[in-house]
Symmetry: C2
Subunit: 310 residues, 2 copies
């Protein structure tokens, strides 16, 4: 699956991923109204609204992007109907040829971590049959519980040729509270990064590993260090746009082959129509506003990468 | 909700929680067969099997225990139908007066963490109405992302009078890989424990805080230290039984008031009928085997607590 992601990135020439994190407040009124008319102001109605919202955005951007990253929390808040919309979104994106990174940040131990791995990336046995509950192509994983928690994901990735991105240095302001603490003279995130490199070395695709890392755009210096510690790991970079990261901050997350990083933007793309910059599209044409925001983001990042090469 | 949990513990005189973590392999054949006859060998069939399994165990143990702890991963592996069984299990346990601790180990940042908090402990707004997606009474939370990730849970707990248990020192063998790393001369888990005490001090019930901690039974010495660092936090203790913890290891997780800890057992209770010790009940009477296993566990822990007092 890492090979497919890279092929998609090369095809689109866009090392970006669109975060499908639909807050109900991002969904234009006309979409909400239509969903509520059909299902009422219910969890089912909310799920329908976010699904229709996603579909419109995917329809307007799928040819430009290699991947999407739905944030499961935004669906889980609407209970079981919300999670049904999550699954439907994944299936739809896959039917469009996109790689789907489930931003699930799961992490537990032993058989419990195995259950998450199976539910999201693998297949669960039911009597004589098997099923793939959520069938993402990649998932994000929280490493706080150690190797026991990560290993079941590695096993499923090996079997299914799928991938994970392990949280190393997250983009939020307080990520340093634990992740930056100095351990034997080095920050904890570096030790986690070394583990990622080690876990990843056993699970190689053609050029990059199935095991990637999450490193926030808001910490470019740490990105530079981690890039070197994990040369064969793809870095999923959140924090672009709304959280403050810019194209020029991102250059060092990439390798010299121009690969090795994929930059996420969520609100900046899916709620583009709410920004002054894209206001002229109007709420009716929110999908087109998202398309323009994707084009602008790709240009910002490509421009920065080219400027760095020159 | 912490007050209700403590009232339940005093009423039952049982500082334990039954982990409803139903692997399909734990579910006796007759229960699986009946579910598959109705729904086929499908995700719906698996969900029905684990729901019927849970119901039987709850019916046989609810009068003896203060709380249950369903592990969401075991439901999530069966996709959307599995999560519907998770919600149904929660509602059923609450109707029996049990406190429900959702073992979800969620943790993200900002609005994403807020979405998890809302979906599991709070209420989500849909148009003019609000809904509680999974409505657990407590949830477990992963702190690796720092205060940003925990704060949204604290906000919802304050509003809804619900509680969380933050992962401090997990019960698994490799939990030390990151959690035990020395930071300025002290292990990371102690720093997390201090944060738990600090977060908890702002959210007090009558005697204990809404903010508790997870500390594994398999690390009794660390339990002793953490008990002192977080005197007002309830400690949720996994790792009893199947993972190796025993009653005598648990004494120091409790405060002198006999409160302050709640010990989980999952497989040891729900799959008791598979143990030699309880084999005489037979798979037909798995609920009664679970009841006996609860009685034995309470006696083991109470005995150890009394021996320690003497």
């Amino acid at each position: 699956m890492i090979n497919k992601l890279i092929a998609n990135i090369k095809k689109t020439n866009a090392p970006i991923v669109v975060g499908l994190d639909p807050m109900l407040s991002y969904v234009p009124e006309q979409v909400q109204k239509k969903a509520f008319a059909e299902y009422g102001e219910t969890l089912e109605g909310a799920a329908e609204a976010i699904w229709q919202f996603n579909k419109e955005i995917v329809d307007h951007t799928a040819d430009l992007i290699p991947a999407v990253k739905p944030q499961i929390a935004m669906y889980e808040q609407f209970g079981v109907p919300g999670l049904a919309a999550y699954e439907k979104t994944i299936a739809y994106c896959q039917s469009k040829g996109l790689a789907v990174i489930g931003d699930i940040k799961r992490g537990d131990i032993g058989s419990t971590s195995a259950a998450y791995a199976v539910g999201h990336l693998g297949r669960v046995q039911v009597g004589s049959k098997t099923y793939s509950g959520f069938h993402e192509d990649f998932a994000t994983v929280n490493p706080y519980l150690g190797s026991d928690g990560v290993k079941p994901f590695l096993d499923v990735c090996r079997e299914e040729k799928k991938g994970i991105f392990i949280l190393v240095k997250t983009s939020n302001p307080s990520s340093g509270e634990f992740q930056d603490r100095m351990v034997e003279g080095r920050p904890l995130y570096e030790l986690v990064g070394e583990k990622v490199a080690q876990w990843g070395s056993e699970l190689m695709g053609d050029d990059y590993s199935y095991v990637g890392a999450v490193v926030g755009a808001t910490y470019p210096e740490m990105g530079r260090t981690l890039r070197k510690i994990m040369p064969k790991s793809y870095i999923l970079v959140p924090g672009y746009g709304a959280q403050g990261g810019r194209g020029k901050d991102l250059v060092d997350f990439f390798n010299e082959d121009g690969l090795g990083a994929i930059v996420n933007s969520s609100r900046g793309i899916i709620a583009a129509y709410k920004q002054e910059k894209y206001a002229s599209f109007g709420a009716e044409h929110f999908g087109e506003a998202s398309r323009q925001a994707v084009l602008d983001m790709v240009q910002d990042i490509s421009g920065a990468l080219e400027a760095a090469k020159a």
